[in-house]
Symmetry: C2
């Protein structure tokens, strides 16, 4: 391969192609297992959503009548690509899947589904699966950081960077050489897509973005294994990702601390069932209410002091028309948090248009805050100013919202969250889910990845 010898292997391709579970520090291994269990709950939570049914139906109609790969929560089995399509669509519905703050990227939804499907197809071990997933996290997060804030203004980073994350994870499982991994990343990057425009009418595209990223990235890796070549500098080449889809790309982020800084461990769990941009302010409001004894009836006005990204994503949603859209409404999220102590899936479903919610929602505004904006996306600071009906002005501030690495969930909290999500969204019997979750914690010891739901 003449062209190949002329081109340097990108450290990210080298890393993703060669990472093994034994090279991952123990604390990062445990965090990866946490993320894995947390992801499983999100898949079951989304499994019966209408858009997920559509994608799963399509995937099963285009694939084989049966195959080595599980469509989670269904008896059907299929091929790796089709399982990745269906499971990735499900993972991102409930808005409870994980997020990496610095990249504003949701890794679980686009990494675990294609990796699981391929691991089931290959009969890989649990350690091989998890190493591949860590490779996917490390690549996807760095690509998201690289593409920067200008990218996220228009593009759904989980869809775009997610395509490369999926390729990295699948490529690691397939045992690609670093040169092949570089081709896989090129083929993934040239399929990277996902526009935020769907938010304006609460359309179903979010599920399509994760499904597309998982399947396109999977295809890129399989093709590379078969000798199919891709762009050698898909990141910073003059007609590559940064040139086409970012105005503030930072190439240094692609390799930042590779092998020493574990971005996987920086990933946050989501506690409220809403867009992550709403969480810091919700936690800050709860702080004010608890600390100062403020009741709902006392609240005259809430100003959320936010970063620009929150305004870009949440600003258009002033009067949510669907449950999904309400998860992007800052006012709705704060109203539910204030009314119920947290904004969970059930609260959204049953209360997002309740008169008490709407009344409080309409008292909430957002304002750009220079300090919060400067800290973002490395830190997601929550700052609110609450005006009370009796004339008090109260300030709330949370530096790490619940679920962030410095304020993380315990394994018991993760298990409970997964069981709650499964009960919310699937018909799988609780005992079966419970047994599966117990098994999932042991993933690194599995000699062979079998069905998650037996």
């Amino acid at each position: 391969m003449k062209a190949e010898n002329q081109v340097a292997i990108h450290p990210l391709a080298q890393f993703a192609g060669t990472l093994q579970w034994s090279q991952v520090p123990a604390a990062v291994q445990r965090k990866a297992e946490d993320l894995w269990v947390d992801w499983f709950g999100s898949v079951l939570a989304g499994q019966n959503a209408r858009p997920v049914h559509s994608i799963a139906r399509f995937a099963l109609s285009q694939g084989p009548a049966q195959g080595p790969c599980e469509v989670i929560g269904q008896s059907a089995t299929t091929s790796p690509m089709m399982a990745a399509l269906a499971n990735a669509a499900a993972a991102h519905v409930a808005e409870q899947d994980d997020v990496h703050n610095g990249s504003v990227f949701h890794p679980a939804a686009v990494v675990f589904p294609p990796a699981l499907a391929v691991a089931q197809s290959l009969g890989a071990s649990g350690a091989q699966l998890m190493a591949a997933c860590v490779a996917g996290y490390e690549v996807g997060i760095r690509v998201g950081e690289f593409l920067g804030r200008s990218h996220y203004k228009i593009f759904h980073t989980t869809g775009t960077a997610g395509t490369l994350a999926a390729a990295a994870a699948v490529g690691n499982l397939l045992g690609l050489t670093p040169a092949q991994m570089q081709h896989a990343l090129g083929s993934a990057g040239t399929q990277a897509a996902g526009l935020w425009e769907f938010l304006r009418t609460a359309a179903d595209s979010k599920q399509l973005h994760t499904a597309h990223a998982a399947s396109a990235g999977l295809m890129a890796a399989y093709l590379a294994q078969d000798g199919f070549t891709g762009a050698q500098d898909i990141f910073t080449g003059p007609q590559g990702l940064a040139a086409g889809m970012s105005t503030d790309a930072n190439p240094a982020r692609l390799t930042d601390g590779l092998g020493t800084r574990w971005a996987t461990a920086e990933t946050s769990f989501k506690w409220h069932a809403s867009c992550r941009h709403t969480h810091p302010a919700a936690d800050a409001l709860l702080q004010v209410m608890q600390r100062d004894g403020v009741q709902i009836g006392d609240i005259a006005q809430v100003i959320c002091h936010v970063h620009q990204g929150a305004i870009d994503v949440l600003g258009p949603v002033t009067s949510p028309a669907t449950v999904h859209q309400s998860k992007f409404s800052m006012g709705t999220v704060l109203a539910l948090a204030a009314r119920f102590g947290h904004a969970g899936l059930t609260e959204f479903d049953e209360q997002y248009l309740a008169a008490d919610t709407v009344a409080l929602r309409n008292k909430v505004t957002m304002a750009l805050d220079p300090e919060v904006d400067a800290a973002y996306p490395q830190r997601w600071i929550g700052k609110v100013t609450v005006q009370t009906t009796d004339g008090r002005t109260l300030h709330g501030r949370v530096d790490e919202p619940k679920g962030d690495p410095g304020n993380t969930l315990s394994r018991q909290e993760i298990t409970d969250k997964a069981l709650r999500l499964a009960a919310y969204g699937s018909q799988v019997p609780a005992a079966q889910v419970q047994q599966a979750v117990q098994q999932l914690w042991q993933v690194a010891q599995w000699p062979r990845v079998a069905r998650l739901l037996a």
Copy 2:
């Protein structure tokens, strides 16, 4: 659907959702049949290329063991998505498939494969298939024109606009309502992808771009039929295609003459087996050689006066390392045209690195020409200045390269070209191809679309 009633149906969705064969003027019907036969040759020409084999192998491995859809030139059958993947990959290999000048978009490769697969799956009539394909051409070309020159500098328009073209064609066949078609276009647009970066190392991405566009667009249409929603203004919304991927988008182009101006009829056939950007200059050089009796040995220097797009795409290719890359080398194309009278597939394969080719190649340069650039992309003017070894300065100029609507191919030339391409690229017996091509000319009379190669 509350959100749906609030949103106006875009005229493009209305048009694509409702177009019928009987509404297409007879001359446009005949042109569509010309393009259909011309496409068939290109698929067979590319069928055995290594990157196409990779994509076809992957597609067949992920699909059912058999299905209603033909992988052209193979005995295997599969599902619509997988057939679309494989056939679209093949159509764009030989660089002989059609092109629409104004949009710099290759419609056949991304329109016919998904439409054929779905027509075979549904048992649609030939007229239904062809109406769907005209819908795909009209939508894809207008989207390409809309995205403009800034888009094409970074993005492979056939990959991006092609995703919407495929969705329009498949959606028409599926009988989507205009509202459903609007959702399909939204879901297609949010998957639109394809970066030119692969050209720098002659990577295989071009085949991936057409395969991806065909399959992603097909998925978007099937999902819309199942109630899956997409962005309502994927074109000009603040986080839509134009916002993310163009700086000179022109919304008026989306609906320009819809129903009266037939962009399908403006599509050009490719005569030389190279990037279309090389054709005008090659024809102009041939003009000089024929008119002024210039022999190869007389040529001291050739300056091609070109539009900026030619410099953007061809400029990086100074020393082609592969046959594919040589088709993007202006010098190589002109050298082969000068040596053999045309730059065909066989000439590229056997002569692109021959000493005589390289010697002449190195005498060719490009220069931006204001007149040519201003006319582009509506007209692709070829202008060359030839310096001869005996001191003459000769000028060549071609206003419509061979294959353009004003200088088109006859049905006999199209048949001959298809048979030549099939003989070049496939092992299908010539008699069988000949019989198939005869049948293809009758497509509009077919009661039911069956296998193209019986």
